[in-house]
Amino acid sequence: MRERLDKVQFIKSKLTDAEAPVDVQAMWSGIESALDDAENTRRPLGFMWFCLALVLSSAVIGIGWKLSDANPATPSTPVEESPKATPVQFAEVLNKETTINKEESTDELYDASIPTEEVNDAASVATKIRVDATDLKTRRMLDFSETLNHELNFSEIIAFDSNESHDFNVSKSNIENSSIRTVDSKNTKLILNESSDLSDIHLISQAQTIEPIKPVQTLQLQSPSHDIALGSNDMIFVDAKTKSWAITPSVSAGSFITNFDWRQIEENGLIERNNSFEKDLVGVQLSGRLNVQHKKGISFETGVDYRNHITKFQHNSTIEFDTTLLNVLLSTNTDVETGEVTEMFGDTTITASKTLDVLNYNKYKSLRVPLLVGYHLPLKKGWELGAKAGIAMDFFTKQDGLVVGTSDQINELSSLKFKSFSTSLLMSAHITKQLTRFIALSVRPEFSMGLTNTLDSEIVERHQYSLGVNAGLEFRF
């Protein structure tokens, strides 16, 4: 035994930190040319992820676009002639209002037909309508849900459209002998929510057909994404031209679960640490987001999320290791003739084991900055569905607890060197319901997948995966 150990020790002592002659110049020329090749083909990692996010975002937008084109909105109200209603041609409507020029664009028409004096005058005539002239000038949407709940004297409502699809909710009208028209609005829908006995409200679509609208008690006009303006004392213009970009700040709160995926990096692949795991018990998130949305549905979103969560870390393992015992009794030999006992001492190697059984609760606080691109698809009755994808940058501000390192040793989180931030691929759905003119309720499920290592280590990788739902309010301008 002694000799065997000596041979091994001899090899170890001779080869540890040994050097072997090498042709430096010849080897270096090969390495240098390989380095040159690598530099010519190297691309920044971040650029690769950016391209990936761009491709995903483009796919989301493309699918949304395709869906939008494949399902054009159609008039919900069947067009048929009414025995009670008198057909009114588009030209006749325009002729009634002398300030409207058929050749003018919608914008010009808007400006030309609604001078402030007339509006004020209209307000005075229709005494129970409150009109904000400033809103008219700045083309902001007016909420008629309040004003038109009152008694109103007017003869026509005209929706000027530009081949886009819109829903106008109309309910509760006490208007007698009035009509509601949409002009050049092949896809515009006028929705009646409540009916009564009045009989002379009409919907004119494409100036071709009049459909009788069942009388209602009070009229409400709501269109969260379009400008609506009061025209004169007997006309209301609904300028259905969508604003190009809408800005939507939002606040929300929610919860999420996170899995930290710990892996040990090896050249020949990643080795999962099956004997340890770290999963979320509780995670809360407060979000402040800013969404900028084009009228065609494309949107860009960013903001700051504050995330606070506790994870359960559990680790069970048995470490086996060799240790050398020096100068132990290996054998005894008794001489039968002399009775002399000879003892043989030497070094020996034994295998020892140590069991680890760790349970700990880790605490994390982080800030997340999302950069999302997406597409919003308007649905009926103020509902909207969006899909977004992009990058999220996570800044961990505090981490306390225990984690497993290489060779199963347990490390304090605070002693590990974390990278300043990590990036994740973020995918989000966005469901909103318009509540009032400016406020909408939103629910936002999100999934993120860690793209980069959160640890500054070449041996251990820790990626963050999270799934959560946020709910909150959006403020649309």
Binding site: M1, R2, E3, R4, K7, V8, F10, I11, K12, K14, L15, T16, D17, A18, E19, A20, P21, V22, V24, M27, W28, G30, I31, E32, A34, L35, A38, E39, Q264, E266, E267, N268, I271, I319, E320, F321, D322, L330, T351, S407, D408, K417, D456, S457, E458
Partner: protein, 181 residues
Amino acid sequence: MTEEIKILIDGCIAGDRGAQFKLFEKYSAWAFAICRRYGRDEGQAQEMLQNGFLRVFKKIEQYDPERGDFKGWMSRVFVTTSLSYLKLNSSKFSFVELDHASESQIAVEDFYSFSTEDLLKFIEKMPEGYRTVFNLNVIDGYSHKEIAAKLNINEATSRSQLARARKWINNSLKNKTHSLI
């Protein structure tokens, strides 16, 4: 870490070809000995050396002086690179039966007068499976658990391969009178 090493590392991080050459010149003989231990022959060892230095230059910015000395970090890189090379160049580690492993015997007295080069050639003759486990455990200090993870084998196999490596060494030497195995 000496100032010289720090300057070389900083130069390598900046992609300075001069610094890279100096680092290579300083450590190539030492690294080549590691590769010689793992490689089947000098040709394999040269390829391992080249791959290892390319990886060192690529990953050098990840080196953290607080977590160990530079030579230890480089050693891990070269061991990992050598194992990857072996894995790519053989479908599996060849755990040869002991009876066929030893070809010729060397006198014990001659063995103890071996130079480094002689020992490298001696180790080179060891079957690849034994050699890898022997190198990892005895010379590079990896535990059987770590070896099992690195080679995708179980710990028992690692232990038995090491035992066989030791036996192969004994069988390769003529004077075995004191062996208790």
